[in-house]
Symmetry: C2
Subunit: 335 residues, 2 copies
C-alpha cells in the first residue's frame, strides 16, 4: 500500500494557469461564469498536469460521495449458486457508472456483518443503498432505515404491508406464475401441481399466489413446498406423484427445482411433456437450456431490474414505492 507519486492539486493547476483556485474549481466542475479564454487556459493546465480531483477533499466539503452501497444479505449459498446476482450487479453497475457513481459492495452473512454494515452506512460513506434482503426475519432493513439513507430494495420486502413508503423493484412474480399456469391449461392439462419456493421469501409467496389466482384454492394436495434447490424439487415431485399419480402438469417456482422434478419424473417413467408438462421460472440459462427436455419457463429481465434499482435511487425526486417489471413466458420443449 505504498503511496503513489504526489498528484497535482488544484493549487498547482491554478498556478500554472495563472488564476485562482476558485476559478479552476469552477471550470473543473463545469459551472459557468468563467469566460472562455480563461476557461480554456485552465483546461490546458489540467491535462498538462494530469490533474484529477481528490475525491476525499471534495467529499469533505460537499458531503456527497458519488458512491452507492449494494448490500447482499446472503447467509446461504443459494444466491451464489445461480447467476442472478451477477446479472443484477451488472445492471446496477451500468447505471451507476453512467452517473459517475461508484459501487461499494457489502456482502453479509451473519449478525456480526449486519452490525458492521449498520456502522458503515451510519458512517456516511455512501449516498444511498441498494439492498437485497432475501429473508423474512432479516434485521437489516431496520438497521438501514435507522441510518437514514435513501434505499431501494431488490424484490418486494415482506414487511411494511407490501407497499407504501418503501422503494423497491421486483419482477411480476404473480403475473408470471399466472401466465405459466394458463399456458399449461391452454395445453389441455387438467391436473396441475405446483412446487413452491422457500416460503420465507416473497418471490415464492407471490408465485404461489399467482398459481392460486388461476387455479382457485384447488386441491391443496397438489401444492408441495420446495426450497428453490434441485434436491428440494426432487423431494416435492416425489411427494406430489405419491399423492396424486394422475397429475399431468407441474409448475415449479424456479428452474432449479424444475430440473429436479424432471429427473424424478423420468425416474418414474413419465415422459415430459407427453405425460407430464413442466414449466419453471427464472429462465436461468445454464440450467433451463440444458435440461432434458429444455425447460419452458418464465423469464425475468434481471439486468434491467438492477438498472432500474439504481436509477430510482439516483433519481431523488421519485416517490418511494414499488415498481414491478413484466415477465415473459419462454417456450421450450418441456411444456
Amino acid at each position: 500500500m505504498t503511496d503513489t507519486v504526489p498528484r497535482p492539486t488544484l493549487e498547482a493547476v491554478a498556478a500554472r494557469a495563472g488564476v485562482s483556485r476558485a476559478t479552476v474549481s469552477r471550470v473543473v466542475n463545469g459551472s459557468d461564469g468563467v469566460r472562455e479564454p480563461l476557461a480554456e487556459r485552465v483546461r490546458r493546465a489540467v491535462d498538462e498536469l494530469g490533474y484529477v480531483p481528490n475525491q476525499a477533499a471534495r467529499s469533505l466539503v460537499t458531503k456527497r460521495h458519488d458512491a452507492i452501497a449494494v448490500i447482499v444479505a446472503e447467509p446461504e449459498t443459494r444466491v451464489f449458486a445461480d447467476p442472478f446476482f451477477a446479472r443484477q450487479l451488472r445492471g446496477i453497475s451500468k447505471e451507476l457508472t453512467a452517473h459517475d457513481n461508484q459501487l461499494v459492495l457489502l456482502l453479509t452473512e451473519d449478525r456480526d456483518d449486519h452490525a458492521r454494515v449498520g456502522r458503515y452506512l451510519a458512517g456516511g460513506h455512501v449516498d444511498g443503498a441498494l439492498v437485497f434482503s432475501l429473508h423474512i426475519d432479516d434485521p437489516l432493513p431496520q438497521l438501514i432505515q435507522r441510518a437514514g439513507l435513501p434505499t431501494v430494495y431488490g424484490g418486494r420486502p415482506d414487511w411494511n404491508g407490501g407497499q407504501g413508503g418503501v422503494a423497491y423493484v421486483d419482477s411480476d412474480n404473480r403475473g408470471g406464475a399466472r401466465d405459466a399456469v394458463r399456458h399449461l391449461l391452454g395445453l389441455g392439462r387438467e391436473r396441475l401441481a405446483h412446487i413452491t419456493g422457500a416460503l420465507d421469501q416473497t418471490a415464492a409467496v407471490d408465485r404461489l399466489d399467482g398459481f392460486r389466482d388461476v387455479m382457485g384454492d384447488a386441491d391443496p394436495l397438489l401444492v408441495a413446498e420446495g426450497d428453490f434447490t434441485p434436491g428440494g424439487g426432487e423431494r416435492a415431485m416425489r411427494l406430489l406423484l405419491e399423492r396424486c399419480p394422475s397429475l399431468d402438469a407441474v409448475f415449479a417456482a424456479n428452474d432449479l427445482m424444475a430440473a429436479g422434478a424432471l429427473r424424478v419424473l423420468r425416474e418414474h417413467g413419465r415422459r415430459v411433456p407427453d405425460d407430464v408438462a413442466v414449466v419453471g421460472f427464472d429462465d436461468m440459462l445454464p440450467v433451463a437450456e440444458q435440461t432434458d427436455p429444455p425447460l419452458t419457463t418464465v423469464r425475468q429481465d434481471i439486468e434491467e431490474m438492477g438498472r432500474l434499482m439504481a436509477r430510482r435511487l439516483l433519481d431523488d425526486g421519485a416517490e418511494p414505492d414499488g415498481l414491478i417489471l413484466p415477465t415473459m413466458l419462454v417456450r421450450r420443449a418441456s411444456a
Copy 2:
C-alpha cells in the same frame, strides 16, 4: 440524496469528554499513550454521541482509503453465466472486511469503460486493485500498471512471460488436468480426447498443457477447440466422434462443455461411462451434479482463491509472484 442528520465530529466528542481533539483521535485510532481513566471517558463520549469517524476527512490527511477496487473485465456474458464470479467475490469480501477494507466493484465491458477505470485508479480513490483480466489482448493491465497501484491478478496473466514481478493467484489448472487424464487412464481407457476451452484464456491453455503432459503430443485429431460454452462442447464432441469414432474417454476443459458433450454422446447412442468416460473441470455445482450421469470433475476452491487474492494485496510485504492453489478430482458417475 438528501443528507442525513449532522453527525457528531471529533470536536464534539472532545468537548463532551473534556479533552482535546488529539486525545480523542488517539483513543479512536487505538494508539497508546493515553491513560486509562481518560481513555475510558473518551470511549463513553464516543458511544454516547454515536460518533463515527468521517472517512473523507481521514483519507484527506492519511492518503489511505481502506478501500480496494475489484475490476472485472467481462465483455462477454460468460462469467455471468456461472457462479464463479460470485464465489470469488465472496472470498474477497470476507478477507477485506476482516481487515476493515471496503470493496469497490468496477465492471467493464468496452474500451470506454477501460478509460474510465484508468482514470478512477489514477484518481487515487483506492489503495489497491484486484483484477480479473480474462482475455489475452486486454489493455487493462497496462492502464493499471500506469496508475501505479498494488495489484493482484485472478488467474495467470498471459503477458509477462508467465511469472516474475506480477502477483497473481490461480488454480493448478495444469495439475488438475493431469489428474483428470490419469484418472481416465487408470480406468483403462485408451483413446482419450480433449475438448479445450477458449484458447485466448490462460486457463484453457494450461488445461490443454496438462492433457499433453500426460498424453504426449498424441493424436492432434483427438483435441478439439471449444469455447467454454455448452454449445461449443457439443460442436467439439461431434467433431471428435467424426474424426475418431473409437474414442473411449473425453476430458472437457469445463463442466459446461462436458454437459454439452454428454448430450451429443447420448444422441449418438454412446453410453456414459460404459462406452465413453467423461471428465469435466470446475465442479460448477448447479451443472456438475445435475447432468445425467453426474459429472466426474476437477474441483477448485474458488472462494479460497478470492480470499488469497485479497490477502496478498493487503499483505504489503509479500513478493509479487504467482500463487497456485491445488485442485481436487471429484468422482461422480461419468468416469
